[in-house]
Symmetry: C2
Subunit: 244 residues, 2 copies
DNA sequence: CGACTGGTTGAGTGGTCTCAAGTCCTGTGG
DNA sequence: CCACAGGACTTGAGACCACTCAACCAGTCG
């Protein structure tokens, strides 16, 4: 844990929703927070629990998943430095609908519900931030629904690799190098398929020269090839449409 | 169109997010709105358009859909009397990500963006309403993602019938009678499958005695049978169950 | 050294899609 | 009023994608 974390000097704040706050406001924020370390595999909150506040990821990686009826994890999202955690249930004023679990050792800052809502009254601009954030997340979720319903597994995997590149990728010449903190099974849980099927398609992509990998080190060699896997016919549509 | 619509006496307001407003606040709301009739099949807004305000459905039925890469409609939701329309893009401050189309003749009230946001400043309680609404919608969307990824088409159809019952159903003894304003193709577009597959499973459910139907008149005879289609094993889970 | 987890591969099966034909219903113009 | 066109619905046959089951290998941790 080393030195204590300070919201004002927090290096990940620039990625977070607290990005535009003034120094005074940050000071208040700083004083209401508690910093908690979590170990790999530790559960942060559980589906069904009542939220008592808001988490902010300072370091590490968290997966948020639901359990399907046959007790498989369905990963809804990955959270990392700068991301809020558990905000949906808090703002919706209902129990958590998913479970959050540390994938690595993590450091989370926690803001208690009561303090946090009081803070809201004082910094009303945060309302707009939150409304916008929730609205965009909802848009992303709906894009996701559409993508899932209309794309077979191979395309979903190609799309997953491309979006993981945005978060975990580092350009390396024309290629991208990724170090993914995900097992094959977790990749499967992200796109709603089985471990075996993920492996098969990864192998296929490798055989075709789109990617290479060794363990959890991946290199995307041919981005456009992967992109064309996601829509074999034609790639764009008029009027500003986009896929996540 | 008949008589003009008044927010204060509006019959559908009890279903809407304007439910708890005071008479004065409603008066303001009433004066900023425009009421617009739409005919069946008319498009209200398009994917990619910039939102200029908020719609509120007074009567009729609207479908909100995206187009998949192979130009199929993917229906995201149905809106009817009392429902807001186009609020997500408005609050997220981004273009519409879906298209809204009248399925029947409709009457919509429209609140212009500028007026509406000014109104927000005056009635801050609406912030909580909106944040809660968006949070819950996001929760529903995420549940939906999980359901889609983990259930085969037969189960999704069973679930669809059960949830349509909540909106369009009228109890009739032990059974439920539904009059669905949906074609088979639209039912398919709701659960991400094809018209033919919907027909086949509807036939199967009829053969098994779960439902009967004639055109768009459906009767659900055996609710628990349909429910058991949605989860063959067991229906609920303790909070905090984990997969190995 | 065994137990265990994660990854890889094969064989077989089944659910769902595609293509295609055919029927029923509805609206429209003659 | 009828003929017709077009859409919605129904059904069949075949193909294929992805799942299940099962085996095997490679690390890793006790």
């Amino acid at each position: 844990m080393g030195k204590p974390i300070d919201c004002i000097t927090c290096g990940v704040r620039k990625n977070s929703l607290f990005r535009e706050l003034s120094a005074e406001n940050l000071q208040v924020l700083n004083q209401m927070k508690v910093t908690i370390p979590y170990r790999k595999r530790q559960v942060i909150f559980c589906e069904g629990n009542t939220p008592f506040g808001l988490y902010c990821v300072n370091s590490g990686m968290v997966k948020v998943y639901k359990l399907t009826k046959d007790n498989q994890q369905q990963i809804m999202r990955l959270a990392q430095a700068g991301d809020w955690l558990g905000y949906r249930a808090l703002f919706a004023d209902e129990p958590y609908r998913a479970t959050a679990e540390a994938m690595t050792n993590c450091l989370l800052c926690f803001f208690e519900k009561k303090d946090f809502f009081r803070y809201f009254q004082e910094v009303p601009q945060l309302f707009f931030t939150v409304v916008k954030k929730l609205g965009r997340e909802l848009g992303i979720a709906e894009d996701h629904i559409c993508a899932i319903l209309s794309q077979p597994v191979r395309q979903r995997l190609a799309e997953l690799l491309l979006s993981l590149k945005e978060v975990f990728g580092a350009p390396e010449g024309k290629a991208y190098r990724l170090t993914l903190p995900l097992s094959r099974k977790e990749m499967a849980a992200l796109i709603g398929t089985t471990q075996q099927t993920v492996v098969r398609f990864l192998m296929e992509f490798r055989r075709k020269g789109y990617i290479t990998f060794n363990g959890k080190q991946y290199t995307i060699l041919d981005i456009s090839a992967l992109e064309s896997e996601t829509s074999p016919s034609f790639g764009f549509r008029l009027s500003g449409t986009r896929t996540a």
